[in-house]
């Protein structure tokens, strides 16, 4: 039996999990088992589930965090190994980093931690730098308009961060020290008894961030040399913690509690031409959730409550440039956002080939901003998702969600299907997938109400809307997995920040866009414990707005992105070599300024010294390209080196 599915089945204790398994392994597993029971399929992620249980036939990539053991990886760096993903970093380690899925903006992609939606303060984009990579088990990236399955906001897709679980007794620790004193200490302990198991972990990150970068100070003069500068006010400190406990409440009932919190303090260095040496940010955030789930016959049920609290304080920050914290004209600004929600789900097995899930949820969110006071809004949703297996090795997964966010209501339909056209032969692992979805993103409370100095709110904003279709083919052989997919999406009523003369900007529903692309991933299991993988993304993002912007490409969407990695991992040594190439991309709305193409090469090597103690050495940006920049002329680090030690007890 394939190891992946055997492991899955061993872990299936509840019908809800069985439902997930039905969804996750709709046809594939059965075909694999039937044709090659000895085969061990190589998934996109090498091991682990094939995708999200909520969107079983969506184009998905699963990233196992332990695959990168011995490497210094942020959540953003983990995500950037997948096709369809683009991350935007405002500088080096510890600095604000956001996510773009299939060319959607950071606001248009959901990030969930153990199923709990995360948002930045004000309800907007999640800063990936605030999330603890060391405490994650895996990351599931589902691409497409998936509002029917996940709720409002999932226009580009969804990233599900799955925290580690306690698996018994044990402990582990990892320490890394690298260039510009970038240090990470993470440790965890697993505990439990017959009735339950838990995990507690911490992750401490710090960096001085004072890397050297190069900038051509006279860019109009061809061939003029670049000058070296040292990044200042880019230090960052962060502490994160995770506590998770699962307790059996009976033979068919389980209680699961999770807490994840994070606090950080960092400089906001600003663009290279106009650094902001006096701007600082403090943030604290956390989620607390409790879930009870169980089964009764052919019915599985889950009830869950969760709460989330985020706080961001900015010091020395102004509309343009920085200022002296404490000056009368330089007040500190604080943004707090809070959300609480309850969710219930019932899944009914209607037949051997069909599960129907009904989900109801409701909650409220609050925001407080020092310039604008507090605001709140309620939300509620009712969703139905069907997982249906048809004759001919076809499965379909229709879903429909009715949702109200504040005063805005919308229906989000979606459907996905998978088909295994061959039941035997070398084409048996071939799987065809297709999907379509329509959904919306309500304006965030910050967009609606929060006066952020130079950025005005607009309480009249309407939801953004998008639809997409996608299709793909995947061939999952014994040692090779090839996945190719394409998508086409349209966005309308897009919120665009427009100049609000004389000096401010304000959001309006004025834009539209067409985003299409191709995503390719190849994973090969080679002899000598070698693994090779390639992820390629092509993106065409066109602005459809009337006027002078129309017909131009959307800025900061790279048309081509290629990630390639080779790794070897045995019980004594490990190592990897990877390259991440991003094509030149527009830096403005008119295709007249571009961010140059970038190539980053990273490598690492390590060995098990004694017992479970591993020592690793890792180098990033081996080409020492100090001219790399991300959004808004924020420089990125050149060559960096890190040493790591890790052990499990």
């Amino acid at each position: 039996m394939p190891r992946v599915f055997a492991a899955l089945r061993r872990s299936i204790r509840f019908a809800s999990a069985a439902l997930a398994a039905l969804a996750l392994t709709p046809l594939h597993a059965r075909a694999q088992e039937a044709s090659r029971p000895e085969a061990e399929p190589v998934d996109i992620t090498v091991t682990g589930p094939l995708g999200s249980s909520r969107a079983p036939a969506a184009q998905a990539t699963v990233i196992q965090a332990d695959k990168f053991a011995g490497e210094v990886r942020s959540v953003a760096e983990l995500l950037s190994t997948a096709p369809g993903v683009s991350v935007h970093a405002l500088g080096g380690p510890g600095q604000t980093t956001t996510l773009s899925l299939r060319g959607a903006s950071a606001d248009q992609s959901l990030v969930l931690l153990d199923g709990i939606p995360l948002h930045g303060p004000g309800g907007g984009a999640v800063d990936l730098a605030t999330l603890p990579a060391a405490l994650l088990d895996r990351l599931v990236i589902s691409r497409g308009v998936l509002g029917a399955q996940f709720g409002a906001g999932a226009l580009g897709g969804v990233v599900e961060l799955v925290p580690r679980k306690g698996k018994g007794r044990g402990a582990g620790a990892q320490l890394s020290v690298g260039s510009y004193w970038t240090t990470r200490l993470s440790a965890d302990v697993e505990f439990g008894d017959g009735g339950g198991s838990g995990l507690a972990g911490i992750d401490l990150d710090t960096t001085e961030g004072d890397f050297t970068y190069s900038r051509q100070t006279t860019p109009e003069i061809a061939g003029s040399p670049s000058d070296d500068f040292t990044r200042q006010n880019a230090d960052a400190r962060r502490g994160s913690g995770l506590f998770r406990w699962a307790q059996d409440l009976g033979a068919q009932t389980e209680l699961d509690v999770i807490f994840q919190g994070s606090a950080g303090w960092r400089g906001l260095p600003g663009p290279s031409s106009s650094p902001t040496l006096r701007s600082r940010a403090l943030d604290q955030g956390g989620v607390l959730g409790a879930r009870v789930r169980g089964t009764e016959g052919t019915v599985a049920w889950t009830a869950r409550v969760w709460g989330r609290l985020d706080r961001l304080e900015l010091r020395g920050v102004q509309v343009v440039g920085d200022c002296v914290d404490g000056d009368p004209s330089c007040p500190r600004t604080t943004e707090r956002s809070t959300a609480a929600q309850a969710e219930a789900e019932i899944a009914v097995q209607l037949s051997d080939a069909q599960w129907l899930r009904i989900t109801a949820s409701g909650g409220e969110e609050w925001i407080f901003g020092s310039p604008t006071g507090s605001h709140r809004r309620a939300s509620g949703a009712l969703a139905a998702m069907d997982d249906l297996r048809l004759p001919g090795r076809v499965s379909i997964h229709p879903a429909l969600r009715a949702e109200i966010v504040g005063t805005q209501a919308a229906l989000s339909p979606g459907i996905a299907a998978a088909w295994l056209p061959f039941d035997a032969g070398w084409l048996a692992p071939l799987e065809l997938r297709a999907g379509a979805g329509l959904s919306f993103r309500p304006a965030t409370l910050a967009e609606l109400y929060l006066d952020q100095g130079g950025v005005l709110p607009n309480p009249d904003l309407q939801p953004e809307r998008a639809w997409s279709v996608d299709a793909g083919v995947r061939w999952r052989g014994q040692a090779l997995t090839v996945s190719v997919g394409g998508f086409w999406s349209r966005y309308r009523e897009l919120i665009s920040y427009e100049l609000f003369p004389p000096v401010r900007v304000k959001p309006f529903n004025v834009s539209a866009a067409r985003i299409a692309g191709i995503e390719v991933q190849v994973v090969a299991q080679l002899p000598q414990a070698l693994t090779a993988e390639v992820a390629y993304s092509y993106l065409q993002a066109v602005n459809l707005r009337e006027g002078i912007e129309g017909g131009h490409h959307l800025s900061y969407r790279p048309p081509h992105r290629l990630f390639a990695r080779g790794a070897r991992r045995t019980d004594r040594i490990e190592g990897y070599l990877e390259a991440n190439a991003t094509s030149s991309m527009p830096r403005n709305k008119f295709d007249t300024a571009y961010l140059p193409a970038q190539l980053t090469v990273n490598a690492g090597v390590g060995a098990r010294i004694a017992g479970t103690l591993w020592l690793d050495l890792e180098a990033k940006n081996l080409l020492d390209d100090r001219t790399q920049e991300d959004l808004f002329q924020y420089p990125l680090p050149g060559f960096t080196l890190a040493a790591l030690a890790r052990a499990r007890f």
Binding site: Q216, T218, I221, D227, S329, F500, V503, G547, T592, A593
Partner: protein, 370 residues
């Protein structure tokens, strides 16, 4: 460092390139109590914006803003002899100190100076046009404007002083004789430019050249250069330019140069005898150049500022496409706003974000990368 080289080269060039004494490399501006802060504990800094040359002096409009862009005190106009520093400080605030706030644009008719005051962006009042007699270094007349008439650009014609508004695609004018509001008064509507827009439109800059008045319109849908009758504001012609045009200037060969910050371009418009006007893309700036802000001309070259990349360009627009012949980088974070050419090689640059240590910076392009 390049800056040191620039200074040394500049020193070496002193007295040889031209007869006038060379400008100070750094030209301080009034600060602290000299800016008459409304709240001594929370004063403004100069925030130098536009400049105009008259005789041997540069006249610089000072915003006098706090770091949050709130008004720190009355608007000022400062007379600067580039080789000596500031010599005249003209308080534009009037009797109550609040008549003119956040002064930004300044033009001259060759004798008098006219300064626009945009007012407090976070409040009301302070919108005005002020006439200054440079010989007496005094404000002679002030025309207060309504809160809806926050002026941006200004141009002086024979009979009127025209102002573009920052909140709409409108021009208003003040009669030069009576100094009363003419276009835009209760009895005479403002000139509305037909500038396509859905969200916003405003008039960032104006220019009077010969018998023409030129007005820029910047909107979310278009960038348009208008050629108007200077007496009536009647339309003579118009031409599309790049996105988010910010400033315009007469070129040495009688055309009109326009910088556009939205799409990083320089356009040159050619007025025809028939009264119409056409515009051509002259230069698309390099990827590293951003947020074009100002444009002015010397006898032979056009100079532009880019506040995002902290750079100033010297451009030959007599060739097609236009050619950047030299470029200088400014002190980090100063956000160059306007440029005032002293001759074909030397300019003075106002840094809108510079603090009170650096007000104006002189650049000698002979020492800059060519």
């Amino acid at each position: 460092m390049r800056r040191t080289v620039l200074l040394l080269a500049f020193a070496a060039a002193c007295g040889s390139a031209h007869n006038a004494r060379p400008p100070l490399t750094k030209i301080p501006l009034p600060k602290g109590t000299a800016l008459k802060p409304y709240d001594a504990a929370n004063p403004g800094t100069p925030h130098p914006y536009n400049m105009v040359q008259l005789g041997d002096k540069l006249f610089v409009a000072l915003g006098n803003l706090r770091s949050d862009y709130s008004v720190g005190g009355p608007g000022f106009l400062v007379g600067v002899v580039p080789s000596q520093g500031f010599t005249d400080v003209v308080d534009l605030g009037g009797a109550d100190g609040h008549e003119c706030q956040n002064s930004g644009a300044v033009r001259t008719d060759g004798t008098l100076l006219y300064v626009t005051c945009a007012g407090d962006f976070n409040g009301t009042g302070g919108r005005a046009l002020v006439e200054v007699d440079p010989a007496a270094a005094k404000a002679t007349r002030t025309r207060r404007l309504s809160d809806a008439q926050s002026p941006s650009g200004v141009a002086v014609t024979a009979s009127k002083v025209w102002m573009g508004l920052s909140g709409s695609a409108s021009l208003i004018s003040v009669d030069r004789t009576s100094f009363a509001l003419a276009d835009g008064s209760d009895s005479q509507q403002a000139i509305e430019l037909e500038c396509p827009h859905k969200i916003y439109a405003y008039v960032p800059d104006l220019l009077a050249v010969g018998s023409d008045l030129y007005a820029l319109c910047s909107s979310d849908q278009a960038g348009v250069l208008f050629r108007l009758d200077p007496a009536s504001g009647a339309l003579r012609g118009q031409a599309n330019v790049g996105a988010t045009p910010t400033a315009l200037a007469a070129t040495p060969d009688g055309r009109v140069a326009v910088v556009c910050s939205g799409d990083n371009t320089l356009w040159v418009a050619t007025p025809a005898q028939s009264g119409t006007i056409t515009a051509q893309l002259a230069h698309t700036y390099a990827n590293g150049t951003s947020t074009l802000q100002g444009v002015r001309s010397s006898a032979r070259y056009v100079f532009t500022t880019a506040s995002g990349s902290n750079t100033v360009q010297k451009i030959d627009v007599s060739v097609s496409p236009a050619k950047v012949v030299a470029e200088a980088t400014m002190d980090t974070g100063t956000a160059p706003w306007d440029v005032a050419p002293i001759n074909d090689d030397e300019v003075v640059v106002s840094g809108s974000l510079s603090d009170d240590l650096i007000g104006l910076t002189a650049v000698d392009f002979k020492a800059a990368p060519q």
